[in-house]
């Protein structure tokens, strides 16, 4: 499809570097699906839905900085919903998010509550002022917050909060956050990795499974169409957690 013209209806500042943009028209995404957001004159970047009609974005690069310059009434071009979203499984689920990775999980948790599932959330942030979507997660059920500096909730990474819970007791665990954090959580959940679904980040360019820039080694999984949600047992057999590729295909290794 060509990019659809979407008008920004509302911008909310979630924390100093994270904003939510709500659009007209609305979409009908499966939580975990994404949009290709064309900030005209700058670039086109993938963003997961945080609402039916919205995305929640951290200002990190050229495209997101340009997006942050746009207010209500301005417009962007959108392609989507794209990709393979989260699959709701079972009766009791655990959401584990880190930073702006909380965004697609908030939409997923609300959908799960509508379907009558029991939802527990574990959300990790750097500090209390980074917290986003607290009330959305509180409305769904139990919420454990962790902060790296201890300014709110449990002191430490999201994995420190995992010790307060019994991750093996949930029917399904849903993950989204920085890759080292997600890998850490997956490794602490060995034995039931097939019950973990993670939304991962790769260099998505075409969004239609042909350019090859987002492929995962060694299977060649096309993250833009087969993901961005991929089960952890598949991720454990992949490059995930070790390296990712830059825009030209060069490997960029994670420091461990």
């Amino acid at each position: 499809m060509r990019p659809v013209n979407a008008v920004i209806r509302e911008v909310a500042e979630e924390n100093p570097t994270v904003r939510t943009f709500r659009f007209v028209p609305s979409f009908d995404p499966v939580p975990g699906q994404y949009l290709m957001v064309w900030v005209r004159g700058t670039d086109e970047v993938p963003m997961s839905f945080s609402y039916q009609d919205g995305i929640t974005v951290q200002s990190l690069g050229e495209a997101t900085e340009a997006l942050f310059c746009l207010g209500p009434g301005k417009s962007v071009g959108l392609r989507g919903p794209l990709g393979n979203g989260f699959d709701l499984v079972g009766d009791r689920i655990l959401l584990v998010g880190g930073g702006v990775g909380a965004a697609p999980l908030a939409l997923l948790g609300e959908r799960a509550r509508e379907d009558g599932l029991e939802v527990t959330s574990l959300m990790g942030f750097r500090c209390s002022s980074d917290l986003i979507f607290r009330s959305r997660f509180e409305k769904m059920g139990d919420l454990v917050i962790t902060t790296d500096d201890g300014s709110e909730g449990v002191c430490g990474r999201a994995s420190a909060g995992l010790e307060r819970l019994d991750p093996g007791s949930y029917d399904q665990i849903y993950l989204c956050g920085p890759e080292p954090m997600m890998m850490d959580v997956i490794l602490r959940c060995r034995g039931f990795e097939s019950r973990i679904q993670a939304s991962i980040n790769r260099y998505i360019k075409c969004g239609m499974g042909i350019c090859g820039s987002c492929c995962l080694d060694p299977e060649g999984i096309r993250v833009c169409v087969e993901g961005p949600v991929i089960r952890a047992d598949r991720l454990l057999k992949s490059e995930f957690g070790r390296y990712r590729r830059g825009p030209g295909g060069l490997k960029e290794y994670y420091r461990r």
Binding site: R2, N5, R40, E44, K205, I210, C211, G212, L216, G220
Partner: protein, 299 residues
């Protein structure tokens, strides 16, 4: 039982249906997946002398009958690409390295720096300054570059031609004079799409190249003309998305075919095309060689 195996452009292939350059060819793993899905051989994403990130997005826009892309030759440079070729070779079919450069020396440098089963010279990408069709629309450049690469490697060399010229046959003849083992036709057609809401060109690069079903008739004509005029084989590419399309391209004179945009429908396309071709040959009682160029022999 019809056989699809045979020689194509100096390689021996189990079938003549290949993965086209620029499609799922950045990583060895995606190339190997195409091979395992049934491709007769795989062509890598074009690699050059130094790393490039490519154009800003959008890099692809869907239009009537196909896609316009302006990826901008993103690649990690040949210095970081051998491991991808090595992994791709585990797929069990030949790996063709698509390469680009700004002239004979740079092309030869990239080719000598890689160990591949064949090279495909990208003299036809329509959306990168100093590269591709900017130099490949001039027959003398095509001849010089082909000759320079032929001198520096001892595997087959294919030359991918641009259709964005008045006479593609003169480019094919230039490649043949330079010693090409085959020509590949066609690369994308220069194209553009504009956002009517803002009046802005959609692609980050403003212009791009059109691929997909819309360009198939153009490709058929080019392959028909090239195969009539050249001694070296022609490999047909442009809008092939079914076994009928592949058969049509072979009837026009192609020794092999490449599939690109149709991969948007998944890797299953290789199996669909090869199975369909096999059934077609059996039904017609023809060999692949008898099929090739048969359109020219009709009264």
């Amino acid at each position: 039982m019809a056989t699809l195996s045979g020689a194509v452009g100096g390689l021996v292939l189990r079938n003549p249906v290949m993965l086209a350059a620029g499609i799922l060819g950045t990583t060895g793993s995606s190339l190997r997946r195409a091979a395992r899905a049934g491709a007769g051989c795989v062509v890598t994403k074009s690699v050059g002398a130094s790393p490039r990130e490519g154009h800003p997005g959008p890099v692809v826009v869907q239009v009537e009958g196909g896609l316009i892309n302006a990826m901008g030759l993103p690649n990690p440079s040949y210095k970081n690409f051998q491991e991808e070729i090595d992994l791709a070779r585990q797929g069990g079919v030949p790996v063709v390295a698509s390469i680009f450069g700004d002239g004979p020396e740079e092309f030869a440098e990239v080719a000598s720096g890689l160990d591949a089963d064949c090279f495909e010279l990208n003299l036809s990408c329509p959306h990168a300054e100093r590269y591709g069709s900017e130099i490949g629309c001039e027959p003398s450049n095509v001849e010089d570059i082909t000759r320079a690469v032929k001198k520096s490697v001892d595997v087959p060399v294919w030359v991918k031609l641009t259709p964005n010229v008045a006479d593609i046959v003169s480019l094919g003849k230039a490649a043949q004079r330079g010693g090409a083992n085959a020509v590949v036709a066609i690369n994308t057609l220069k194209a553009m799409a504009i956002d009517v809401e803002t009046g802005r060109p959609i692609l980050g690069n403003r212009f791009g190249g059109l691929s997909g079903p819309a360009i198939k008739p153009v490709a058929i004509r080019c392959v028909f003309d090239l195969s009539a005029a050249l001694e070296v084989p022609v490999i047909g590419v442009g809008g092939i998305s079914s076994w009928e399309d592949a058969a049509e391209m072979i009837l026009a004179g192609a020794q092999g075919v490449q599939v690109g945009t149709a991969l948007a429908g998944g890797y299953g396309i290789f199996g669909e095309i090869t199975a369909g071709l096999e059934r077609y040959l059996v039904r017609k009682g023809l060999t692949l060689m008898e099929l090739r160029g048969a359109a020219r022999k009709t009264p």
